[in-house]
Symmetry: C4
Subunit: 216 residues, 4 copies
């Protein structure tokens, strides 16, 4: 069975790549007044640390979203309208992340910090829902998936996304009171995704081996 | 017959992906004055709702344009100069949408709303014409199309685009007097495209099946 | 012989797609003062016509550069360092076009028009030289080219680019005295490229046919 | 063995292409006051030479980074989590280059020149480290690499990146005292990379030949 989702992947790769690169446009070049020298510039650059932090966080969170997208669509061979539009929602939220992270960076050092972290955490609840939706729609119809994919692997992927939901929700709820802790939980979740992406990969490899064995 | 249009698709995917992602640059980060707190920020964010609406509308309208482009070029196997340039016109209009939607977002809450909705609706009349032109040029020469495509499917695709024209024109005409209604009609048309894209897909699948049957 | 230049094409497609889409960022949204209404907006939009013109010119000039790049690399199967870096120069100039065209748009209605058209025309002299260089470097070593490409076709492509040079140079020289005429010559050259791209395509098709005939 | 890293390459191509094209956004269009004419414009354009220089430097440094990325991933056939994330670090730094080069361009003509060149040189130390890391992680496990790759070639690639490190470090250290010299060393290193990329290519070709010989 030929993979039919190549152009969806190519288009999505484009959106991810642009969203991740546009983040750098949020890093401002400081302006110096008459008579200000390198020390002032260094000082102003250091004072922009929330911007750099937000840039790094957002870069790697979008990167991990891409890694997950990559893994998801490796298992999806045929497309239908539902998958295309749930993918559209994922891409829409990817673009939103660059806005909400810029918002957070701009107000991190002000009394509005909590509000912007809540908005930022809320975006990731929606991101998680969109991945859950996409995999739900794809795995509902086995004929859309990679033929050699077993019931266990399908469930494994579902659980991987599904267990993220309560944690993202908890981070969102927490952000109203302990915004920095909530942000830290989001970061830990991304590290978890990064780690768990490795485990599924190993599975696939073993699976592929057994598949080839039965074929040869 | 090998598909020759791969690089046209890749380039077009790039333009669509960038146009759709650039839209987020139109969302401004509010500025707070001395002494303004999270409540003011929230108020200013909420006051930007026409911007968010325009972002969402434009994102999904360009997304649906991409879905249609995807479907169109799935049927086109060979290219000629006419197809390349009609594709260039489509891509040009995709870029224009990000400008006209920014224009609409900026003046939605002012007396200039009607003017900007008229311009926005007008863009989609041109978009529809460009898709009609592209399919007209491609379907004129059967040797450019996917070999297994039947006369019925070719007509079906033509009608799909052709019937859009009077509706887009109606929305454009209406926008001079009832601008919000005209905008709503455009949105409904996009929902229709989204739905109709499913139906054609099913057709193709059935077609492909019968094609494989005759071959095996 | 497998085509080795796929990733060069993909990267180049990306650069072309972004350069062509970024042009729209140069279109400014007019600002209205207190009390100004739709008529003032319309007036300001119409007053931006040099910007729209520059956008259209630059869009289609970069598009035609892409079409030519597409055609060039369709004939190049293997890559070497020289080809990669001459391609780098082409991409560099593609990016420059978006700057020089923005420059022209900004000063079209001012006494600096001639200067900016001269810079704009100068860019296209360099663009032409870079394509000439790329094809010279590629066609020097037949083992890099598509195997079925004949001596006649290689010469045809060379001539196609080579004859552009004096015309671009003439437009550049003319731009010092008759800037609008020089601009018009550039546009006519692009229309010529657009037309000539069709003719080469037909050649390739005939060639491919005869190639397949001898093979089957 | 099928290449599994196609989508990583496509995504990376996207990020490189955008980062390289965004650089042009840092070139500002000069503003003229009432009564200023073409001579003032020309003067202001010429006064922007550090911006043009930074644009050119950064364009070709990112281009050479892409060429190296291209060469690296041509040798990597399978992916694992470590490779994906070391690639993420490379792409992160690619985006950083567009910021640090804009910084350098903005302050090149001010007393802060040295500081910004030091930051710029520091970025390239990190870039070099990230390539070293990526190749270290990939070459550790032979089963991830192109099957026909020999021990000599693996070492050759490692050395190529490894020898860059002391030179980049030297340029970084030097930049504290002789900033322009340090910048010049960076440029010379890029020219060296450009040259050395040719040599490895020749190797691969010879290797491929001997590989095909043993197979046929």
């Amino acid at each position: 069975m030929e993979k039919e989702t190549g152009r969806i992947e190519a288009f999505s790769d484009g959106v991810f790549a642009i969203a991740i690169t546009l983040l750098v446009l949020e890093l401002h070049i400081p302006e110096l007044k008459e008579g200000e020298g390198p020390k002032d510039l260094l000082f102003k650059l250091v004072a922009q640390w929330p911007g750099y932090l937000a840039f790094m966080l957002s870069f790697f969170s979008i990167f991990i979203m891409w890694v997950n997208h990559h893994k998801l669509f490796k298992q999806i061979y045929k497309r239908n309208t539902a998958i295309m539009f749930s993918n559209g929602i994922i891409l829409f939220l990817v673009c939103c992340v660059s806005y909400t992270s810029a918002l957070m960076a701009n107000f991190y050092d002000t009394p509005s910090r909590q509000l912007t972290i809540t908005i930022y955490s809320g975006t990731f609840v929606l991101v998680n829902l969109s991945y859950n939706l996409c995999w739900f729609l794809a795995s509902r119809d086995r004929s859309l998936l990679r033929p050699e994919l077993g019931e266990t692997e399908i469930k494994k992927i579902r659980n991987n996304y599904f267990y993220g939901l309560p944690t993202y929700l908890a981070a969102f709820a927490l952000s109203f009171y302990f915004s920095v802790t909530a942000l830290a939980i989001n970061v830990l979740l991304w590290v978890f995704w990064a780690g768990s992406s490795g485990k599924i990969e190993v599975k696939n490899k073993m699976m592929a081996k057994s598949f080839f064995k039965t074929n040869n």
